[in-house]
């Protein structure tokens, strides 16, 4: 049984993870004015954040075309028994929709299941890892898709931003609107719930904002896997990861990933985040 797992670049799944798990990543697009780049393919995160902070033009993002997915499904379908394609929340992006359209356009004859993760970033990435691990074990397309769908309720993603500015200007403020309009400089924190951005809290200092992220992560214990995200401060992310080591089972360590250019458009520089997946038996142990 060969089942291929596909995701998109907003999973922020590190390239080496994707490679070892045999996950195919379809990039979204990020544009500065008329210049358009494929997320993490034709523009690196380093270049992106430099342009974001130094440039005057604000980037915009766009979903992959159905054609982008068709191309991937066609290629993978040649020697796969099935494809499970897992994407960011359909409530905040048309990516899922592009994938669904591609389902009806591809030459691939194997079954293709498109899954709405209701998540972002490594909240999505964690679901993808679970699915890819199952596929590697030889699970069927139905099994892999079921594991992915089951993982949705176990997956969590929180993030704190140095400023709300980028999220607000990008129009992805969602349910976190209450954060707008403060007269004090705030570091807002968000959590993804039901596929949308919700306010988690607000802090005045980096120390408190990091504490809030870590406390939230701890509230989801027991945790199976955890990833710390950053946009421009890898050292801070590494420290957080080390601090949360005890949250994971023996022999497992948190890893660090980076908000790619597309999500970086909304997080801005200085953002931090945590994506995690709770243990299956952890029902009711966490925030709704």
């Amino acid at each position: 049984m060969v089942v291929k797992v596909v995701t998109d670049s907003t999973s922020d799944l590190p390239a080496d993870h994707a490679k070892s798990l045999d996950v195919t990543i379809v990039p979204l697009n990020v544009s500065f004015g008329t210049e358009t780049f494929k997320d993490n393919v034709t523009i690196t995160a380093d270049d992106f954040y430099q342009r974001l902070t130094e440039g005057t033009v604000l980037p915009t993002t766009s979903q992959p075309s159905p054609g982008d997915f068709v191309e991937v499904y066609d290629r993978l379908g040649e020697d796969a028994d099935g494809i499970v394609s897992i994407h960011l929340s359909s409530k905040e992006s048309g990516t899922h929709n592009s994938a669904v359209q591609a389902q009806g356009m591809t030459k691939a004859t194997c079954p293709i299941d498109v899954v709405d993760s209701e998540q972002f970033s490594m909240g999505l990435g964690m679901i993808v890892i679970k699915a890819a691990e199952a596929a590697a074990r030889g699970a069927s397309v139905e099994e892999v898709a079921a594991i992915a769908r089951n993982a949705i309720s176990l997956s969590q993603c929180v993030a704190s931003f140095d400023t709300l500015e980028y999220l607000e200007r990008g129009g992805r403020i969602g349910k976190a609107k209450a954060l707008v309009g403060s007269l004090l400089k705030l570091k807002p924190a968000i959590i993804i719930r039901d596929g949308q951005v919700h306010e988690l809290g607000k802090s005045r200092t980096l120390v408190k904002s990091i504490a809030q992220l870590k406390n939230t992560a701890r509230s989801f214990a027991p945790v199976e896997a955890l990833c710390v995200l950053y946009s421009t401060t890898p050292d801070v992310a590494a420290e957080i990861a080390a601090d949360l080591n005890d949250l994971l089972p023996e022999g497992t360590e948190p890893f660090v990933a980076r908000f790619g250019p597309v999500l970086g458009t909304y997080t801005g520089p200085g953002a931090l985040g945590i994506g995690l997946i709770r243990k299956e038996d952890a029902e009711g142990a966490a925030h709704a």
Binding site: A178, G181, L183, L184, E199, G201, R204, T205
Partner: protein, 555 residues
């Protein structure tokens, strides 16, 4: 009308009943000439109608009805004056003036004539009575002037001073207090005026002084004191203020007199305070005068009739001047009920804006010099759009009132005992209206405790504390309410305070600058001081608070 006083005999070291009559006849003359000027200061509806007219009518009755007592003792005349004032008091300011006369009657009890000692006692008694007459005393009003006047008299040596010297000091005290009223009462600052009632009393005292002095003419318009904190012309309420307050609803100004037996002014005051606002109740066991602003005068009348014979009923619709505007504002905005809501106490436009931006539902004005009453807090709790209300007092002295409000409210109220505004703002950061009160409170208490507060203000007296000698009027720096620095330069005092705070890398220092500091000055201070604290972030925010050039939050 006479250009000079009725019977000048200089100097007057002691005065009898006729002297007392002469004093207030002189005051009446001076007040008459200044009625319009005082009316122009009236900030509708604080307290009501025309303050100058009300005080004049009250004083005129006092003088006219007491005149038949010529040749009587000062005790007899003062008693008569107090009785007349109570019966004839017009408006809020008239009622408070009646307490001024009641104080004189107490101070002059049993005297044939009087001097400095009795005058000082009279003013102290009047002040005390006036404060108790009002359910919720507010500074920046005639009360503040009465305090200043009583203190000025008290500060003199009554055994050696001449009456005219004491009255000189009293009048200076009155003018200074009037000039300061806008700094204490924001509505005056907004309206660009000094307090009308306070100015009325100042004019009356000036008339008294001129009688005792015996030389100055009493028939002239008096210059208003230059108000503190207001630029330029301050002789009348600004048009901007009138426009901004046009939509407010005030209800009925209800006044009446109750005559009965064994009346208890204190309990009547409590009743009236519960029915409306601006309640002033004064009187004796046999006669009580009531003044109160209510949405419906009915319950006031019913309560009064139950006490005794009611007369001199006067009901004025304070909204009638605003009728044409009211229709447009009748529609209440639809307020979405919240899971939990916050009521907080702050002083300063900037702070109001900051806490509003952090999701506060109701703001009560108050702080060090102006503690809100339990009733103020209860009303704000009542207006908050949730059954679960969190109260942030932001001041140690307001916490007891907040705890009282918890007991009295029919809503579920919790106090997060913030002792400073920065603590309150810290707590607000972890407030979310979509969570229940208990969840919010747990996090808010933790946040409030993680913020330290620094303050720069002025010493009100000379003192030595913690080995620091402070001169009166000099600047002082307080860290967590402990004196840590003093000096004459704001930046120096602020800098010394921050050094005492032992800032660490990653700390955030926020300067909330007060109403006497400009944004540029505050930014310059932050830039200069920021350079000496590496790794510490500085932010400058408009607080707009009075009395404190800087309030600093350290987190």
């Amino acid at each position: 009308m006479n250009k000079t006083n009725p019977t000048p005999t200089v100097p007057r070291s002691r005065l009898d009943g006729d002297g007392l009559l002469g004093m207030f006849l002189s005051a009446l003359h001076l007040l008459e000439r200044n009625v319009d000027k005082i009316n122009a200061l009236n900030v509708f509806p604080v307290p009501d109608g025309d303050t100058g007219t009300n005080m004049y009518l009250t004083l005129r009755s006092v003088v006219e009805d007491s005149r038949p007592l010529q040749g009587a003792t000062s005790a007899a005349v003062s008693r008569k004056m107090a009785d007349v004032a109570l019966m004839e008091a017009k408006g809020n300011s008239g009622v408070i003036l009646s307490q001024f006369f009641r104080g004189i009657a107490i101070g002059l009890e049993g005297t044939a004539d009087f001097g400095c000692l009795e005058l000082a006692q009279s003013l102290a008694e009047g002040r005390k009575l006036a404060y108790t007459a009002i359910g919720n005393p507010v500074e920046g009003t005639i009360l503040t002037v009465m305090t200043s006047v009583a203190e000025a008299a008290d500060a003199m040596d009554s055994s050696t001073a001449q009456l005219s010297e004491m009255l000189d000091a009293i009048c200076i005290g009155a003018r200074e207090a009037v000039a300061l009223t806008p700094t204490m009462l924001p509505v005056l600052m907004q309206a660009g005026v000094v307090d009308a009632g306070g100015q009325g009393l100042s004019v009356i005292l000036e008339g008294v002084r001129r009688y005792v002095d015996g030389s100055s003419p009493v028939d002239e318009e008096m210059e208003l004191p230059v108000p503190v904190g207001i630029d330029g012309h301050a002789g009348s309420v600004s048009h901007e203020f009138l426009a901004a307050t046009e939509e407010e609803q005030y209800g009925y100004c209800t006044q009446l007199l109750v005559e009965g037996e064994e009346l208890d002014p204190a309990s009547i005051r409590e009743t009236m305070s519960s029915l409306g606002v601006s309640a002033v109740v004064v009187g004796t066991e046999s006669t009580v005068r009531v003044h109160v602003h209510v949405p419906d005068p009915g319950p006031v009348l019913s309560a009064a009739v139950a006490l005794g014979v009611v007369s001199q009923v006067k009901i004025e619709n304070m909204d009638s001047q605003h009728v044409e505007f009211s229709a447009a504002h009748r529609q209440d905005p639809v307020v979405q009920p919240l899971e939990s809501a916050v009521v907080t106490v702050v002083r300063g436009k900037g702070f109001e804006a900051v806490v509003n931006s952090l999701g506060v539902s109701e703001i009560v004005q108050g702080g060090d010099t102006m503690n809100p009453s339990v009733k103020d807090l209860l009303e704000a709790v009542g207006r908050a759009p949730s059954e679960q209300v969190i109260l942030l007092p932001n001041n140690r002295n307001i916490i007891p009132a907040a705890r009282q409000a918890v007991k009295l409210s029919d809503k579920s109220v919790t106090v997060v005992a913030s002792e400073t505004i920065p603590q309150g703002i810290g707590a607000l950061l972890s407030f979310s209206p979509n969570r229940d009160s208990a969840t919010n409170v747990a996090e808010m208490e933790e946040e409030a405790g993680s913020v330290r507060t620094g303050e720069v203000t002025r010493a009100v007296r000379e003192v030595e504390l913690n080995g620091i000698a402070v001169k009166e009027g000099s600047l002082i720096g307080l860290l967590e309410r402990v004196l840590v620095s003093t000096g004459t330069n704001i930046e120096d005092v602020l800098g010394a305070l921050l050094h005492q705070a032992e800032l660490a890398e990653g700390d955030l220092v926020t300067f909330y600058y007060g109403d006497e500091i400009t944004a540029d000055e505050a930014a310059a201070a932050a830039t200069k001081l920021g350079a000496s604290f590496e790794g510490v972030e500085f932010e400058v925010v408009d607080g707009g608070q009075p009395h404190y050039p800087f309030i600093v939050s350290i987190e």
